[in-house]
């Protein structure tokens, strides 16, 4: 007698405490929401909003350091925060299941996929081995895995990321739970794989009528899957409602800001001057990795092949592609952090592809790079000031002048010059990325390479850093090479776009052309997979 009006999950006034030395008193404060049968509720928030803590509280997976301070979590009427461990074990998988962000680490590498699903059935049911195997094959067919008979005997490393996530979903759903919790299930996947997994989740949810609590930071994904949306900020629920209401007419200031920060998929449409001087030209650039040593046959991987690009002063070239497409390889060749195998790299017409590392002084000055991971881009044992003046000091600028330049740059990236005395661990991700940009600018480069420079940042911070990069490009008339997997970000910043796949440039042209009239099949597939592409976000 289950109908759509009974809540599968009801969270009432949930408060989860943080340890006394934590950043704030509670990880989650007074959060209440419900998930109905046959409904997908999206929990959206930036990092540190407590969204994963809520998922762990429901599953009873909270570490001892994060106790549930008050409130109830009712799973089909039963308060799971108070039941004994034994009962919790029965409920997991049978009534509620969870899938995780990283399918490689969530699966046991030394067990075959079949054994891992079988384990669930063995623990929770009294089925015979033959019945269990039949059920395993059934569920693998249901999550649309090709050749389930073969997959049953495969180890996780033999499957692709998307297939692994399907195995995780199969394992979670094999006992037909009433509630599925998906904690950022597509964040580690490429955009085309992500689209397939999202479709699968939607499909299964419809077919089985279960409730889904979907945790994500990506508003595109929200627009694609959610029925209702709950927005979290620093452990508090700031807004909850129907998808269209929240995404198109957000009420709370924070939601308005977040949605306003989501870049659109439409290119900015800025005019591109075709006659500005060329800063960078690559001609048939290639990088081949060969593995194998003395005793094994040599294998070759073409990380980048036949890449021909150019960037003019004051323009931004975007390289877009999925993981393994070779986009970072190209960037690292251009900065000469790795040596290209073939081809030319011309900076102002001078080929630097073959120059020995010792003769690259000029290049280092003209070309600077900002990396993806703000937490690893700064030496933890050096002050911010030391980091920013390191380059100028290498080129013989007196210390006092270098420090003066560093202070000016700090103002440029909107940070207090006093922070030069401090160490990197005192700053958040966005602030560190600003410091990295200042460090690159201290060299007064002509070409700035941004290798996924905003990918690790939360959407609101990402918007700020993108605005900063744009301002810098305009002010110094910089040429910029912008590498990203995120089509929305690419649409915001790029004048020209190169789409890479399998080490090759499959489409290359003006951003307006590529985004509005993609010609290559792969580009079209990539754009079609972008989450929430047809959804018009409002309120901003």
């Amino acid at each position: 007698m289950s109908d759509a009006d009974t809540p599968v999950l009801e969270v009432r006034n949930l408060t989860v405490a943080l340890p006394v030395d934590g950043d704030r008193r509670n990880a989650v404060s007074g959060v209440s929401f419900t998930v109905m049968r046959g409904e997908i509720v999206c929990l959206v928030g930036e990092s540190g909003s407590g969204k994963s803590v809520i998922a762990q509280a429901i599953m009873g997976l909270l570490p001892k350091t994060l106790p549930v301070a008050s409130g109830e979590v009712l799973l089909e009427g039963e308060d799971v925060t108070k039941v004994p461990t034994e009962r919790l074990r029965q409920l997991r998988c049978a009534s509620m299941s969870m899938i995780f962000q990283e399918p490689m680490t969530a699966l046991n590498p030394v067990m075959t996929c079949g054994e891992q699903i079988d384990e669930v059935l063995r623990e929770h049911t009294a089925l015979s081995p033959a019945e269990r195997r039949a059920k395993t094959i059934d569920i693998l067919t249901e999550v649309v895995l090709p050749d389930p008979e073969r997959i049953v005997g495969s180890y996780p490393h033999q499957l692709s990321g998307g297939q692994r996530q399907r195995i995780m979903i199969a394992m979670a759903l094999v006992l037909e739970p009433a509630l599925l919790i998906a904690d950022e299930p597509t964040t580690a996947l490429d955009v085309t794989t992500q689209a397939q997994i999202l479709e699968l989740v939607r499909d299964l949810q419809l077919r089985r009528g279960m409730g889904v609590l979907f945790i994500t930071h990506d508003f595109g994904v929200v627009a694609d899957v959610a029925h209702r949306v709950a927005v979290l900020r620093l452990g508090r629920l700031v807004e909850m409602g129907d998808k269209n209401t929240v995404l198109k007419h957000p009420q709370h200031e924070y939601t308005i800001m977040l949605i306003g920060a989501v870049p659109t998929l439409n290119p900015h449409g800025r005019a591109v001057a075709a006659d500005a001087p060329l800063v960078l030209e690559t001609r048939r650039l290639a990088k081949t990795y060969s593995d194998g040593g003395w005793f094994s046959r040599r294998g070759e991987v073409h990380a980048a092949d036949d890449v021909t690009l150019e960037i003019r002063r004051g323009q931004t070239l975007g390289i877009v592609g999925e993981s393994g497409s070779g986009k970072s390889t190209v960037a690292r060749c251009i900065v000469r952090l790795i040596d290209p195998t073939r081809g030319e790299i011309r900076i102002h017409g001078e080929d630097i592809a073959r120059k020995p590392l010792g003769a690259l002084r000029d290049l280092r000055r003209k070309v600077q790079i900002v990396f993806q991971d703000p937490y690893r881009s700064l030496n933890p044992r050096r002050t911010v000031g030391e980091a920013v003046i390191e380059g100028p000091l290498n080129y013989g600028l007196p210390r006092a002048e270098a420090l003066e330049r560093a202070r000016k740059l700090m103002e440029l990236v909107r940070m207090d010059p006093a922070v030069l005395e401090r160490y990197p661990h005192q700053f958040s991700g966005g602030q560190r990325q600003r410091i990295c940009i200042a460090r690159a600018l201290a060299m007064e480069p002509e070409l700035l390479v941004a290798d996924e420079a905003v990918s690790a940042l939360d959407v609101s911070v990402q918007a700020q850093v993108l605005a900063l990069l744009e301002e810098i490009r305009e002010r110094f008339n910089l040429a910029m090479l912008f590498i990203t997997h995120d089509l929305r970000v690419a649409a915001q910043v790029c004048d020209r776009v190169a789409v890479m796949s399998g080490g090759r440039v499959v489409e290359y042209g003006e951003a307006n052309e590529v985004f509005l009239r993609p010609t290559h099949e792969y580009t079209r597939a990539l754009f079609a997979a972008a989450p929430g592409r047809d959804f018009v976000f409002g309120g901003g």
Partner: protein, 312 residues
């Protein structure tokens, strides 16, 4: 519009939330119980070593035929070389030559701690040099690390005995003999650290800032290996103290007249059944010292290497 947008983002973004300052490594270290226990014991031992002449001791090499094989706590007289007779209480008894074991054990603390610390420093210094070179200069890596593998294949105590046998037994020889077998372990640790750290984006950033290789090695890579090296150093010091005692006990360490715990035990071995305290007392000091150093090292590892601490 753009400016107000930016301000609004800045105010609402999660980045504007309070970041509570984290404890520094040094603060964590000071709070750790193991570090405190090990540290206090070691400070006491250091004080004993430094204040040896003022702790009611006599010259540890002085012997007196009249007071041989005394039990602990016995009172007696000692005749110095100048012909002076001094009254002395033998807290730990005396050995078969009539030397005061208490004085010898107290002075032995000096030798043990000195050997432990200096051997650890020497092997760290040479090991860091080899490890940095092997980790950063790829063409030297193969040769250097195979040499290190070679040294590791010979039992440490055998190398030490061979080296001491080749030269005259002295403090320097013993320290070098103890330090050399430890070098490969340090070199391996440093090399593995260098190989991970050199792939860090901040090292690549330094490369692209035009920083010369030697500056990257000394300025970026070496400082980030300090924490594991400190931990490694304590464990080397503990094993160096033990090996020094073993070498002395086997009679291939410092000359027998120098008061070291190993020498005292070697001397007491002959009369062990009658006077077991000759071996037990220096043995207890040795155990306490090594235990204290190891506990300190454990505590340092837990606090300086949080990944390790979580795993335990």
């Amino acid at each position: 519009m753009a400016a107000t947008d930016a301000d609004r983002y800045a105010a609402l973004s999660v980045e504007s939330a309070d970041v509570r300052p984290q404890e520094t490594a040094w603060q964590r270290v000071r709070r750790n119980l193991s570090v405190r226990i090990g540290g206090v014991v070691l400070v006491l031992l250091l004080a004993v070593a430094a204040l040896a002449p003022w702790l009611g001791t006599v010259d540890p090499t002085m012997f007196d035929a009249g007071s041989r094989d005394l039990p602990p706590g016995a009172k007696g007289e000692m005749l110095t070389l100048d012909g002076e007779v001094i009254k002395h209480r033998f807290h730990f008894g005396s050995d078969s030559l009539g030397r005061d074991i208490y004085s010898r054990v107290i002075y032995g603390t000096r030798v043990s701690l000195f050997v432990g610390v200096v051997a650890a420093l020497v092997s760290l210094l040479l090991g860091v040099f080899c490890g940095l070179t092997a980790g950063y200069l790829r063409w030297l890596d193969g040769i250097l690390m195979r040499v290190m593998d070679g040294i590791m294949a010979i039992p440490a105590i055998l190398i030490a005995i061979a080296l001491v046998a080749m030269w005259r037994a002295s403090l320097v020889t013993v320290i070098i003999a103890i330090a050399i077998p430890e070098i490969p372990r340090v070199a391996r640790l440093v090399r593995s650290l260098v190989l991970t750290i050199r792939e860090e984006p901040y090292v690549e950033a330094a490369t692209s800032l035009g920083t010369p290789t030697w500056k990257i090695m000394l300025g970026h890579i070496l400082p980030n290996t300090i924490a594991p090296l400190v931990v490694m150093g304590t464990f080397i010091a503990a094993s160096a103290i033990l090996i020094e005692a073993i070498l002395s006990f086997l009679g291939v360490g410092l000359p027998p007249d120098i008061p070291t715990w190993g020498n005292i035990m070697a001397e007491g071995r002959i009369a062990f059944v009658q006077f077991p305290h000759n071996i037990f007392i220096p043995g207890i000091f040795l155990t306490i010292t090594v235990l204290a150093v190891n506990i300190l090292g454990d505590g340092l590892r837990d606090t300086l290497d949080p990944k390790m601490a979580k795993r335990i």
